[in-house]
């Protein structure tokens, strides 16, 4: 889907700054807790990494940007937990207001935690360990790669309505297969619990002028694209 998360090539962000060598991993204590809680939330709500990315992708501009990277994780965690019926809508806000001394009505919490919402959750102490040892996204498949190294391919000019890992800036553009990567779970279906559809992934090399026009600086971009995103060029 089109959304704030698909940032490649967009304008209006201002200049980049030199990196700080001494930057802490978590600039504020809540950020580390939000990171861990989001990973746990993905699991206890019965979601997967692709559904997590799709939750981020659906945030509005303010929810995505205003509180930075861990703010968008936190907002995506809330979305997964409410959609997974683990938390009621508004429950986090109400509790946060109560924590700062406001007298608030708690939203009706009719939700318990349905087993179906967290099929693999397991006991809480095992959630991070389970995440560490999860099967991951790579799969072995029987089908031969449809495209070969050196072959010219085109990223389809499509606008998938749901989750996708096909960035807008390469759609409709042609490039050359540089590497055939291991087959992996297809995010576009996996994010929506419509199956793994594992398929080959290709690192496709695009020339900067193909992407950005004749006036562009000369360089190349490689983008790691699932087989379903690609077509042969005529």
């Amino acid at each position: 889907m089109e959304g704030i998360a698909d940032m490649g090539g967009t304008s209006g962000w201002g200049p980049a700054r030199p990196p700080r060598a001494d930057e802490p991993v978590f600039a504020e204590p809540w950020q580390g807790r939000a990171a861990a809680l989001t990973i746990l939330a993905t699991r206890v709500s019965g979601r997967n990494v692709d559904a997590f990315r799709h939750a981020q992708e659906r945030l509005d501009r303010a929810a995505y940007l205003d509180e930075g990277y861990f703010g968008r994780w936190l907002n995506a965690a809330e979305l997964m937990l409410t959609e997974g019926a683990v938390l009621a809508p508004g429950e986090i806000d109400a509790r946060a207001r109560a924590l700062r001394g406001e007298h608030v009505e708690n939203p009706p919490v009719s939700v318990s935690v349905p087993e179906s919402a967290r099929p693999d959750a397991g006991p809480p102490t095992s959630a991070i360990a389970a995440w560490r040892s999860a099967p991951g996204s790579l799969r072995t498949i029987d089908a031969a790669p449809a495209f070969a190294v050196g072959q010219r391919v085109r990223a389809q000019n499509i606008s998938p309505p749901g989750h996708t890992r096909l960035p807008g800036y390469v759609r409709g553009h042609a490039g050359v297969v540089e590497v055939v990567q291991p087959a992996a779970v297809f995010p576009d279906t996996h994010a929506h619990f419509l199956g793994e559809n594992p398929q080959h992934v290709y690192s496709v090399r695009f020339d900067s002028h193909e992407l950005w026009g004749e006036g562009a600086d000369s360089f190349a971009v490689t983008v790691d694209l699932f087989e379903n995103y690609l077509e042969t060029t005529s």
Binding site: G8, S11, W13, A16, A96, I128
Partner: protein
């Protein structure tokens, strides 16, 4: 309890994080000790020092370097590094005339087992939006000026493939041992927004 803080203003992310932790704990779904352990792990154990050890070994051991470029995931695992966000790591080499720089335009995918969690600039819309369109300018703004004769390849991490840059070994370090080289290998050089420099 105060009443002065009552307002329509949305609670801060810090407060909402605290609320979320309480709610999930009360439901028996999480354990705060697990949250603490995650933070400690990424603050102290899993960070760019891991990647620096990989690079320093590659600089001093030609056979390891060959294995690393041929199969990054396996060669990195030889040093004990692997895990979430590192299922398939591809290592690309920077030279005086070819320069790789890594980004994730769609979120902030990053090779956690060797570099830890991504730094602020990597997650910044400025970097995500612009480095695929004008990498030479962005790198210059970040402090790395590359000559016009250097071929730049930007690696956009849009699948579960994770990219690690093997920087050039700095001139004048021929006498240093593997252990002495480790501190010269920076996170920024392993993403490709800087070069490794002699101390």
């Amino acid at each position: 309890m105060t009443t002065s803080s009552e307002s329509g203003e949305a609670p801060s992310a810090a407060l909402r994080t605290e609320a979320l932790e309480q709610l999930l704990t009360e439901r028996g779904l999480i354990d705060s000790e697990i949250v603490d352990a995650f933070i400690t792990n990424y603050e102290t154990n899993v960070g760019p020092l891991n990647g620096a050890k990989v690079v320093a070994k590659a600089w001093t051991d030609p056979e390891y370097r060959r294995r690393l470029l041929a199969d990054g995931t396996s060669a990195i695992k030889e040093l004990g590094f692997g895990g979430p966000q590192g299922e398939h790591i591809v290592v690309v080499e920077n030279t005086p005339t070819t320069h790789n720089v890594v980004v994730c335009t769609l979120c902030s995918c990053y090779p956690w087992p060797v570099l830890g969690l991504p730094p602020g600039w990597y997650k910044d819309p400025v970097y995500r939006a612009r480095v695929v369109k004008e990498p030479r300018t962005v790198l210059s703004e970040m402090g790395l000026d590359l000559g016009d004769d250097v071929h730049i390849t930007v690696r956009d991490s849009t699948s579960e493939v994770r990219w690690l840059v093997l920087p050039e070994r700095p001139a004048g370090t021929e006498h240093l041992t593997e252990e002495e080289l480790v501190p010269l290998v920076t996170r920024d050089a392993m993403v490709g927004v800087a070069k490794a420099a002699a101390a």
